[in-house]
């Protein structure tokens, strides 16, 4: 269809006024969001950037007389041996709970549920509901639930172990990272599961028919047809959960508060502790800026990678 006037999709119109007339409505549509974003994101982010160059604190001497310290905070951060541990923890946490955990488990669950729907297994619905319930849980509650599971002296897991005659395990003490990863997987799998469920439903079933007629077994069907169709969606799901897992901290705070020592201190928790436990908001802002930069780097990397694939 020929497109004329204000509805053209790919215009080559030379004049700026026409461009404005076309885009004006969209700019207006973006205004409320832009306003809110500027007020509550861009502004505060710029403030955080500025503060990261000062030694401002909420209490103590640095609250009364904060000084501009230039790059001192950054130097301090990068030369702190604890920071390397914090970054490592963050990577392990994200890879473990998001990439390996939520992503793989979500995909598996989606496949199982999709298959089960065709078979009308009722237990599938129960499983589905269980996964969702874990997701809509507010984080504070999720934290409590898992503390109740993991606690050394009285937790449910250890009580169960002792019932069958096994010695209790100090989950939060000896395997803190594993514990928080499990809790986070439990919490977030529903999101990827939902995404993949929907994606699976859009794969035309006649592809399967054709493949089956060709004699391909279930595994081949999956590998050659299902997976490739899922790839773009998978990439986006991955980006989304990576970014959000990177910023998770309330769950870890409730379970181990970064401990023992700093074995589960991820960068998000580290930023929070510096800002609201030590009240060193200058330094805390520094960490936040670094987080932002890391996320940006990851997003750029992802963009390149996904472009190469598509």
């Amino acid at each position: 269809m020929t497109a004329v006037g204000a509805g053209a999709v790919r215009p080559r119109s030379p004049s700026a006024t026409t461009a404005f007339r076309r885009n004006g409505a969209y700019v207006a549509g973006l205004t409320p969001a832009a306003l809110l974003l500027t007020l509550f994101f861009v502004g505060p982010s710029l403030w955080a950037l500025y503060t990261s160059f000062t030694n401002k604190a909420l209490v103590g001497l640095d609250a009364a007389r904060p000084r501009f310290v230039g790059l001192d905070n950054y130097l301090r951060l990068f030369s702190d041996p604890d920071f390397a541990t914090v970054i490592l923890n963050s990577v392990v946490f994200v890879v473990g709970s998001a990439i390996i955990g939520q992503f793989v488990l979500g995909l598996l669950l989606a496949l199982l549920l999709d298959h089960a729907e065709r078979r009308r297994y009722r237990l599938a619905t129960v499983a589905y509901a269980a996964v969702l319930l874990a997701w809509v849980n507010p984080t504070l509650i999720a934290g409590f639930l898992w503390v109740a599971m993991f606690d050394f002296f009285y937790g449910s897991l250890n009580t169960g172990l002792q019932l069958v005659g096994l010695p209790p395990v100090d989950w939060l003490g000896r395997f803190p990272m594993l514990a928080v990863i499990i809790a986070n997987i439990w919490r977030g799998t529903a999101f990827t599961m939902l995404i993949f469920l929907g994606a699976l439903k859009t794969i035309p079933t006649d592809i399967y028919e054709a493949a089956r007629v060709d004699g391909a077994n279930a595994w081949r069907r999956f590998w050659d047809h299902t997976l490739p169709s899922l790839r773009p969606i998978a990439a986006l799901a991955l980006l989304s959960i990576t970014m959000s897992t990177f910023g998770t901290f309330i769950l870890i705070q409730t379970l181990t508060n970064g401990g023992p020592g700093i074995r589960t201190e991820t960068i998000a928790l580290y930023a929070f502790h510096e800002a609201f436990r030590s009240y060193a908001i200058g330094y805390g802002s520094t960490i936040a800026v670094v987080m932002l930069a890391l996320n940006a780097a990851f997003a750029v990397f992802y963009l390149r990678w996904s472009r190469a694939r598509a």
């Binding site: 973006l30 909420l58 078979r119 507010p138 939902l194 987080m291």
Partner: protein, 297 residues
């Protein structure tokens, strides 16, 4: 970036169950059921604690069958902790946030999807990136801003800020969604002489229901669970939301915090069930919306 054409879009609807009883073997049945059993146990096990603790007047942070199951916890949270107020406030704030957010992100997502801009991809990712700014860094300036603008201790402030928190992600999501909605519908409307706004309302929005459901669900969920922002914005008891009510059950004695687990569990149970019911009931719509969204991104 889309791999499926407009025809496949029609198949967003769940396909007919023509192969419902296609010869699954006994082994398959057993394995699948085992898998579902494991999944169910894993995801439900922590909740066993929740329900036993809620009915236990002396609940502790571990699962134990209450010596005298009672509804006392539920009574107490309404009596002494004004839970009804908290629940009411939460519903109001989360509901209003949902409405405001849906309007703002639909407009923004649609506009971003349709606007002609050379750096659109970069701007889209920049918006998404904003979401990753940690709250611990922005809490201090937002506090100052809220105080200057008189947004503290006001429902308007709560709603605005709760909306703002999820905006970047949801705008990104909605843009993806609208990208997957073909333009010929609007274009036809424009040719007919309708303004863009009317076209949006009358033609696009009805098709956009799944995406809007996603935005509504996610924004409601995020507002429902938000605690840090409420903590710094609200001083008065009359405006507290449920997450703050949880905090009230933590007593600080001698510098150490002790949690009254029975009360927390009771609150959590009441807090969860409505959200859970709504999500479960609308899951098909949400799934459709998520699919279309990710297809468009």
């Amino acid at each position: 970036m889309t791999t499926l054409g407009p025809q496949a879009q029609a198949q967003v609807v769940i396909p007919p169950r023509t192969r419902a009883l296609e010869g699954g073997s006994r082994l398959e049945w057993a394995l699948m059921h085992l898998a579902f059993l494991v999944v169910t146990v894993f995801f439900l096990a922590p909740f066993v604690w929740l329900f036993t603790a809620a009915l236990d007047a002396q609940a502790a942070p571990y699962i134990r069958w209450p010596s005298q199951p009672t509804f006392e916890n539920f009574v107490r949270i309404f009596d002494r902790y004004a839970f009804a107020t908290a629940l009411g406030n939460s519903l109001f704030v989360a509901g209003s946030t949902m409405l405001l957010t849906v309007v703002v992100v639909s407009l923004a997502g649609y506009s971003l999807s349709r606007i002609e801009l050379r750096q659109k991809a970069w701007i889209t990712y920049a918006v998404l990136l904003l979401q990753t700014m940690p709250l611990s860094a922005t809490m201090v300036p937002i506090y100052g801003l809220a105080r200057e603008l008189g947004l503290r201790n006001s429902y308007l402030g709560l709603i605005l800020i709760h909306s703002a928190i999820e905006l970047p992600f949801l705008i990104w999501l909605m843009k993806g969604f609208f990208d997957s909605v073909p333009r010929h519908l609007e274009e036809a409307a424009w040719l007919d002489g309708r303004t863009k706004l009317r076209a949006l309302f009358e033609i696009v929005l009805p098709v956009a229901r799944p995406g809007i459901a996603v935005a509504a669900g996610l924004s409601f969920l995020s507002a429902w669970a938000e605690v840090l922002m409420v903590l710094i914005l609200i001083d008065q008891q009359s405006m507290k939301t449920v997450p703050l009510a949880f905090y009230e059950t933590f007593r600080t004695a001698g510098g150490y915090t002790e949690v009254q687990y029975g009360l927390v569990a009771a609150m959590a149970v009441l807090y969860l069930l409505p959200v859970m019911a709504v999500f479960f009931a609308t899951r098909r719509l949400m799934v459709r919306g998520l699919v279309a969204t990710t297809r468009g991104l």
